[in-house]
Symmetry: C2
């Protein structure tokens, strides 16, 4: 919970009894904030991938940003990072247990995105 010292006053939506409680929505907002986070997660749904695999499918991300976002997701325990001591280096990223639990969120997002697109087109 280190990173998520969230002031309860950030959000009065969940009228939690205890003060200084974490608001779930604020938490999710923080976890998913970042230009490439949900795309990375979405891409890992089908199984672990190597760094280059992820990068290949997110052509507009720079190495720095990809590393950055992966580290952040790793800190939040959504993904794991496994280094194979081989040469050339091989690093694998995959969803953790708690990372897998976010899949429904991603799926719902994807459904909404498609619905949004078709709704707009039909105007």
């Amino acid at each position: 919970m280190e990173k998520f010292i969230i002031e309860h006053k950030d959000c009065y939506i969940d009228d939690d009894t205890s003060p200084h409680e974490v608001c779930p929505m604020v938490l999710v907002q923080k976890i998913l904030s970042g230009k490439w986070k949900i795309l990375i997660l979405w891409y890992l749904v089908n199984g672990p991938l190597r760094f280059s695999d992820i990068k290949r499918n997110l052509p507009n991300v720079t190495q720095k940003m990809l590393t950055n976002q992966l580290r952040s997701l790793e800190e939040d325990n959504l993904i794991y990072r496994k280094v194979y001591p081989v040469v050339p280096p091989k690093v694998e990223y995959g969803l953790t247990e708690i990372g897998n639990k976010i899949i429904p969120v991603l799926k719902t997002m994807h459904d909404y995105g498609q619905e949004y697109i078709s709704d707009i087109k039909n105007e």
Copy 2:
């Protein structure tokens, strides 16, 4: 679709047949990017609210930012803005039709947030 001229190359996840197609996940990412968006939407789930009502429950947001985020959500057609010609001014914000469709996403997010919190606590 004005705002969402999304290069297909941003995302190879949905292997759409047509090039320059919009990736649903990129779309959702753009729609929800912003520090207060999902909190505002989540708060409007229970019905329309006045500006001051929203502000009261998001104590750390400034007037400028709240206005800013509301305008953005309005541009994306997620919320409507209704001005009552009275004095003092009364402005009401509520979910549009396409805004209502995002509720499942918010609910799933909220569930995940709670699960995340309890999982962390049990470590």
